[in-house]
């Protein structure tokens, strides 16, 4: 990996230059919690100062810019008792600034499903390849357990990755595209002092990540504790509202529906992200529901995160950002659920 030093001013120039031609999405302050803490979201910004890179975390992940909540998969033009299909992929470039390590790691996991697995998705591929990613190092967020999942650091999946050294950024260059951009605004080579400062900063940050949860034994544990009371207890709390899956950076399940225009001249097949905790997730024609109760549905969310995905892709789907835990109104969160399972196992 190449490293460079970028002054704060040059960074501003960099972002502003990108903005001239390209939509920039970055963490933006959207409100204040009752306890006074700011709330951030990844949103399009029109101005450098609208970004807030000091954000602790964003309420939603950056997922929707790669897997939109609603996306048109194909359109149909009807005429003369016949139809023609059309398929389009998004080719509008976009830049995302201010992604944390977990966010980028989440994209790497989605890549496994949508780029590298069987049947790569051209919709995803085109969004991913048309998105410039500038990540940034940060202190841990409350309740985040990314360290346990090895997602508190990242070495690929971005174009540039910044570490704030106070007066300047230490930049990891992840792609030729990022490299070109840096050269356009002017960067410095790294000095020994830069490296020392960087390592010092990394050490400081790494020391701050303390929330731990053991996940290695989960694939097995989930099978053993399949009938566990833990699921009933937590399942009873589930509102089936899907908030967890909406904010999760890696939840990708969906449904499709078709629509026709009011004159039946055109139709579209639309994909909409769904949630496995929603009541009719596994319902089929005739009304049979493979997962009729809340606890089974909740269980399968964990099952997919920590067992299914591990079997298919050698690592959990979860990146430990705890967004689902924060979004859940009734307090269902991975740390407690997993702890309870492990406690059950030991008992």
């Amino acid at each position: 990996m190449l490293f460079r030093i970028l002054s704060r001013d040059r960074f501003r120039t960099l972002v502003e230059t990108i903005m001239e031609t390209t939509e920039v999405v970055a963490p933006k302050k959207v409100g204040v919690r009752s306890d006074g803490e700011p709330i951030h979201q990844f949103l399009p910004v029109a101005d450098f100062d609208e970004m807030d890179l000091a954000h602790e975390t964003t309420e939603h992940s950056a997922k929707t810019y790669f897997l939109p909540y609603r996306e048109n998969l194909s359109t149909y033009a009807f005429s003369d008792d016949d139809w023609q299909q059309e398929v389009h992929y998004r080719i509008q470039p976009r830049a995302m600034v201010g992604l944390h390590a977990c966010d980028i790691n989440a994209l790497l996991r989605l890549d496994k499903v949508f780029v590298r697995d069987h049947f790569p998705s051209p919709y995803y591929v085109s969004r991913r390849r048309n998105t410039l990613i500038i990540g940034i190092d940060h202190e841990p967020c409350e309740g985040g357990f990314c360290r346990s999942l090895g997602t508190d650091t990242v070495t690929r999946g971005f174009d540039l990755y910044l570490t704030d050294l106070g007066d300047r950024y230490f930049v990891a260059v992840g792609s030729d595209h990022g490299f070109d951009l840096l050269n356009q605004v002017g960067v410095a080579e790294i000095s020994d002092r830069d490296t020392a400062d960087y390592l010092e900063e990394r050490k400081r940050i790494a020391g701050l990540f303390t929330t731990e949860v053991a996940v290695q034994n989960l694939p097995n544990l989930l099978d053993i504790e399949f009938e566990s009371e833990v699921w009933k207890t937590w399942g009873a709390k589930c509102l089936g509202c899907g908030s967890c899956a909406m904010v999760c950076p890696t939840c990708y399940c969906y449904g499709t529906t078709e629509r026709v225009s009011m004159d039946f001249s055109s139709g579209s097949k639309e994909k909409h992200l769904y949630a496995c905790t929603v009541v009719d997730f596994a319902e089929v024609a005739g009304g049979h529901n493979f997962r009729p109760d809340r606890s089974t549905r909740l269980k399968y969310r964990y099952y997919h995160q920590h067992r299914g995905f591990v079997e298919a892709h050698d690592e959990p789907k979860c990146v430990g950002c705890n967004r689902c835990g924060r979004a859940c109104l009734t307090g269902i969160n991975p740390l407690d659920v997993i702890h309870d399972l492990q406690a059950e196992d030991e008992a």
Binding site: V30, G31, V32, R33, S34, I39, Q41, L43, E59, H60, T64, Y69, R70, F78, D80, D81, A236, K237, C238, L239, G240, C241, G242, S243, M246, V247, T257, E258, R259, V260, S261, M262, D263, F264, L273, A275, V278, V279, D280, R294, A327, L329, T330, G331
Partner: protein, 251 residues
């Protein structure tokens, strides 16, 4: 139009209003981009609010508003007789709507308060389905025209339409709205049926439950969690009674 080898028919539709604000009927004239196509896909034969011609020969009757007077019961029975499909349009028709709040008061006293010594005829408010059989219910205060369109399409062409089973939260999250609980405000989103695209949380109001309960709404846990956040049963019950859709689930 012909598709799949089948000619489609243009159903005759009628729109009637009972006790309500007519906001739902107004929605029928909204969504201007597709209104012309909408009016072309159906034959409007009875819609007093916008047309002075009328006919009793119709396939689909949309009824908005609640039932609150004897003459409305009679009209409704006639409509039921004529209509092949009777659609209750809006929260008033589906649950009684805000008018149902009236039922908490003594009607004679209410009458005296508003009309003095010239009381007007009035009955306790009922939903349409409490008076005649209803084939389809489209909740919402007001209804969303998009949903009305989809249901009309469903009735004409049998294209799919399912009311979302999930609660408002899912759509609210998709809008990136800051959850009202984060700023300490009550919201019925977790137990209310989605389909409205969550405008009220986005407007800072929180959801007031106009679409009635979501499928298998977890009211029990919802109550626990809002109690923990400091809301009282009275407050919650007041909110849940607002549009009349949560009868039977109140704390």
């Amino acid at each position: 139009m012909k598709y799949l080898g089948i000619d489609s028919v243009r159903p005759r539709i009628a729109v009637f209003e009972l006790t309500g604000c007519e906001g739902c009927e107004l929605q029928l004239a909204n969504k201007e981009e597709t209104l012309a196509a909408f009016l072309d896909a159906v034959e409007v034969v009875n819609f007093r609010e916008i047309s002075s011609s009328s006919s009793d020969d119709y396939d689909i009757a949309f009824v908005d508003g609640a039932v609150s007077r004897a003459d409305e019961v009679e009209r409704l029975e006639v409509i039921r007789e004529h209509a092949k499909v009777l659609v209750a349009l809006g929260s008033c028709a589906c649950f009684g709507g805000v008018s149902r709040l009236k039922n908490a008061f003594d009607l004679n006293e209410a009458n005296r308060e508003v009309y003095g010594d010239r009381p007007q005829e009035t009955l306790p408010v009922r939903a349409v389905s409490e008076v005649v059989a209803v084939d389809l219910e489209i909740p919402g205060c007001p209804v969303s025209k998009d949903e009305v369109e989809r249901i009309v399409q469903h009735l004409i062409w049998d294209v799919p339409y399912h009311f979302p089973a999930y609660p408002v939260c899912l759509e609210c999250k998709q809008r990136y709205t800051v959850c009202t609980y984060e700023v300490g405000l009550l919201c019925l989103g977790p137990i209310t049926r989605a389909g409205c695209n969550a405008p009220c949380p986005a407007g800072g109001l929180g959801c007031w439950g106009c679409r009635g309960p979501a499928v298998e709404a977890n009211a029990e846990e919802f109550l626990t969690t809002v109690h923990e956040r400091g809301f009282t049963n009275d407050e919650i019950a007041e909110r849940m009674s607002f549009f009349g859709g949560f009868e039977g689930l109140l704390p």
